[in-house]
Amino acid sequence: MSLSLILRLAWRDIRSGEMGLMLVALLVAVGTVTSISLFVDRLQTALVQESSNFLAADRQISSGEVIPQAFTLAAQERGLDVAQTLVFPSMVFAGETNQLVSVKAVDQGYPLRGKLIVGDVPFARGVPTNEVPEPGTVWLDSRLFPAMGVQAGDVIEVGLAELKVARVLVAEPDRGGSFFDLGPRLMMNLVDVPATEVVQPGSRLSYRLLLAGAEENLEGLKEQLNLTPSYKWVSIRESSPRIGRALDRAESFLLLGGLLGVLLAGVAVGLSAHRYAQRHFDHVGVLKTLGATPKQILYGFLSLLLLVGGIAIILGLAAGGLLHIIIVEALANLISVELPSPTARPFLLGTTTGLICATAFAMPAFIHLKDITPMRVIRRDLGQSPASRWVSYGAGAAGSLVLLVWYTNDLLLTFWTLAGIVGVCLVFGVLANVLLRSGRVVGMQAKSGWRLALAGLQRRRSENTAQILIFGLAIMLLLVLVLIRTALISEWRSQIPENAANHFVMNIAADEVDGVRGLVEKRATQGDFLYPMIRGRVTGVNDIAAKQWQDSLQREPGGSRLTSERNLTWVVDAPESNAIVEGQWWVEGALEPEVSLEADYARSWGLSLGDQLQFDIGGQQVEAKITSIRTLEWESMSPNFFIIFSPGALQDFPATYMTSFFLQRSDKRFLNELLTAYPTITVIEIDALIAQIQEIVAQVSQAVELVLGLVLISGCLVLVASIQASRDSRMSEHGLIRALGGSRKLIGSSLAAEFLLLGTFAGIVAVVGAELTVGVLQSQVFNLSASLHPWIWLLGPVAGALIIATVGLLGSRSLVDTPPMLVLRGLN
C-alpha cells in the first residue's frame, strides 16, 4: 500500500473515532508514566536533598583519625563541595563554673546541606544563617547559658583558648545523627582548635569530611578512595535508618504505582487495538479481494500503528508534562521542598512505554489482520483463528513483563505482582466461567430486563469471563494500591506516634531522680521509665583477655573495639521495643549475674549463649553469663542498649539515670527551669529530628496519593475500553430485539442488570485478588505485617457494580438510542 493511502486510511480512522480509543489509551499510558516519573523523579531528588540535611551533606567520611588531605583534594578534583568538622567532648570553664560539652569545630563551608539556626536569646526561635562562628568566638546551646551562667559577650575557656560567646545555637542539621553525641553543644571555628590544645593522642575525636555534589562524582570518589575500615563512608541510609527505610518503601510504592498504571494502560491499549482489528476484518477482506497481498496488509497496518503511536507519544509527552506542571502548582503549598528541574529521563521513559505498549499490546492484533481470509467478504463468519488470540495474550504478557522489570528494576516486586495477577486470572477465570455456565437457559429470555441480561451473560460466556477478569483486575490493582498506601502511611505515622518522647534526660544522679521525675510529671508528658546508666568495658570472654579474643576474630584494624567503654544498664523486664531471639529473659530474684546482648553486637564479636563475660566497672571486676540475645527496633524513639544486665548484678554500683519526655515546642522554656534546678543533668533534644521525619513522611504520602489518582484514571480507561470492546456484539443483539418489538426500556434495564452483575462478580474477584496480593506484597516487599481488610469485602463488589454500571451505561447509550434499522444494516 502506498504511503498516501496509509495516511488517508489513518486520518479517516482517527477522524471517525475508530482509532480514537487506542489513541487515547496510548496517550494515557505515555502521559501517566511521564507525569508520574516526572513528579516522582523530582520529588525523590528533592526528598534525598531534604534528607541529606540530616548529614549536612550528601555523604560523609567519618573517622577517629585525621582525614588525610588527599581525600579532600580528590573530592575537589571531582568538583565536589567539601567541608570539615571535628567533634570532641571537653570541659569548658566560665569563671568558677565548669561544664562538660560536646564541641563541634567547623570550617567555613559547613553545612553543605541544610542550615544552621541561630538566635540572640536562649530558648527562643532562631533564624537560619549561612555563617559559622568567626575565629575567636563560640555559639552555645540555649541550655548552656543558664547552666554556666553566661551571656552573649562573655568569655569562656575551652582548653587553653579563651573564646567569646557570640550567639545562641538553636539547631544544626546533622545533630540527630548520633544518639550518644552527649552533652550540650558548643560550636567553634576549626581554626581555633590548635590553640585549645585539647586535641591530644588518645582523645575521643570524631573527624568528618562532608561531601556534596553530583551522584556519579560521589560514587566515583567512593570507588577511588577504597576506604580502609578506619574511615567510614556514610550516606543517609546508613546514618539514619529510619529515614532510609521510609524512603526505600516510598520508592517501592511509587514504582508499584507506576507499574500498575502502565499495566492498566497496556490492557486498555490491547483491548482497543483488538476491537479496532476486529472491526477491520471486513475491510481487510475487501482489500485482499482487490489484490492487496498479506505483506502489503502487514506493512500498511503496521505503518498505521506507528503513525498513531507516534502521534499518541507526542501528545502523551506533552500531556504528561502539562499534568505534572498542574500537579506541582496545585501542591505548591503542600510541598515545602523546592523541586529541582526535571531531567530527560521521564520523557524517555514515557516514549519507551508508548513504544512497548504499541508493540506488545497493539501490534499482535494488527499483525493478525494479514491472516484474515479474503473469503470473509462472502462468508462473514470467518474470523481470526483461536491460536492467534493466544499469541496476542502471550505478547501482551511478555510486554507486561518487560515493562515491569524495566520500570521497577525489582524482580521480587514484579514477580509477586505478576504471580497475583496470573493466579487470580486462572482461579477466577474458571470460577466465572462455571458461574455463568450454571443454569443455562434456552432462548433470549426477552421478557424482562433481568432475564434478558442473565441470558446474555450466559450466551457470551467466554467474552464475559474475560470481561469479569479485566474489570476485576483493574479494580484489584486499584484496591492493592489503596491498601498498600493506607498500610504504608499508617506504618510511617505509627513509627513516630503523636506525643512520642522528644527529649532525653541523662546524667541524673541517684539523689536527683525523684526531683527530676516530679518536675517532668508536672510540666511535660513522661516517656520511658528510668534507666540506670553505668559506664563499663568488657575485659574478657570465657577468661580469655578481651584484646586476645578480639584479635582471634581477625577483624580488619581500625574498626570499633570490644574493649570500648559502653553504657551499661540493668532492668527487671525486657524493654518493649526489644525481642528475644535466643535464650530466655531472666526471672525475678535470680542470683547469678546474667547479661542480655543485642543480636548484631553478639554476632560481630562472636559471642553466644552461655559465654561468660568479664567487665571492668569503675575499677571493679564483674562477671556475667550471656542468657539471652535480643533484636532492637532502631526505628523506635526509645533508648537502646547493646548490653543489659540482670537486676542483681549492677545494683550496688553508683549509676546515673536517664529518662525521656514529650514537650511541646511552645513549652521549651521548661528546659531552662529543669537545667537551672539540676545543672549537671544533660538534656538531648530530638524534637527537630522528629519534626523533620514527619515532614518527609507527609511529603511522601502526598506523592503516594498523587500516584493513586493517576492510576485511577488508567483504571477507568480500561473499563471504557473493555465496554467498548463488547459493544459491537451487544449492539447487533439489542438492535435485533428492538426490531422485534423490544422497548428501549427493556434494552436499558437489561444493560444495567448485565453491567451490575458483571461489576459485582468483578468486585468479588478484585477483593480476593487484592487481599492475596497485598498480603504477599506487605510481607515480602514492604516488610509490613500482613492483615485482612474486612471493609473492602462489601465495598469491592458494591463499588464494582456501581462503577461498571455507570461507565457501562454511559458507554452504551448509543445501543439504546441508535435506530434498529441502522443497527441491522450494519451502518452504526
Binding site: G291, M375, V377
Partner: protein, 223 residues
Amino acid sequence: MSRTVVSVEAVEKVVPTAAGSLVILDGIDLEIKQGETVAIVGASGSGKTTLLGILAGLDEASAGRVMLVDEEISSLDEEARAKVRGQHVGFVFQSFQLLGSLTALENVMLPVELRGDTLAQSQAAQLLAKVGLADRVEHYPRQLSGGEQQRVAIARAFASAPTVLFADEPTGNLDTQTGELICDLLFDLNREFGTTLIMVTHDSRLAQRCSRTIAIAAGQIQA
C-alpha cells in the same frame, strides 16, 4: 477461438467438522472461455459460493487443479494469489463491501492504488460517471442508497480492467427494479470491457441473461 481464462480439474473441498469431514465440493471439472457470461446456480448449501471463492483464488481447494488466466492458482500461496487477483480479477458482492471510511471516489480508486498506479483519480471519476454517480463522488457509503452503493461497487470492480469479474448475488440485497438497473449496468460494462463474468445467483432472470448456466447440487455439477 477464445482462450480459456478459468479451468478447474477434479476440484474437491472438504472441511472438518465435529461430526467428521464434510464434503462441500466433490470432483468439479469446469472450463470458462474469455468473454463468456456464466451463472452458477443451485440451492442454499449446494457449494456454489465455495466454488466461486476457489475460482477467484479467495479460498483454497482441498484437492484438484485450478487455473486462472494462465496461472495455476491452486499451487500458489496467498501472497501470490493476491497478486493474480489484483491483476486479473474484479468482484461485486451481495453486501456491496465498500470501505465505510472512504468516499465513493476513493473506493473506486482503491484497486488501482493498490497496484501503485498514479492515474487512479481520473479513471475512477470516469467510471463513476459511467455508472451515473458523477455527482456523488465525494459521498461516503452511508450517504448512499443500496442501489447506489452497488453501482460504486461495480465501478470499483471495473476500475482495474479485470480479465474476469466474479459476482456473488449482485442483486440479492436490492429491490426488483433497482436489481434490473444494476443488472443492465453490469452486463453493459462487461460487454464494453470484454470481461468474462462469473456470477453466483438465485435470480433465474439474471441467470437467463448469461450465456451459460452451471447448476450445482450436493457439491457436484449437474448435467
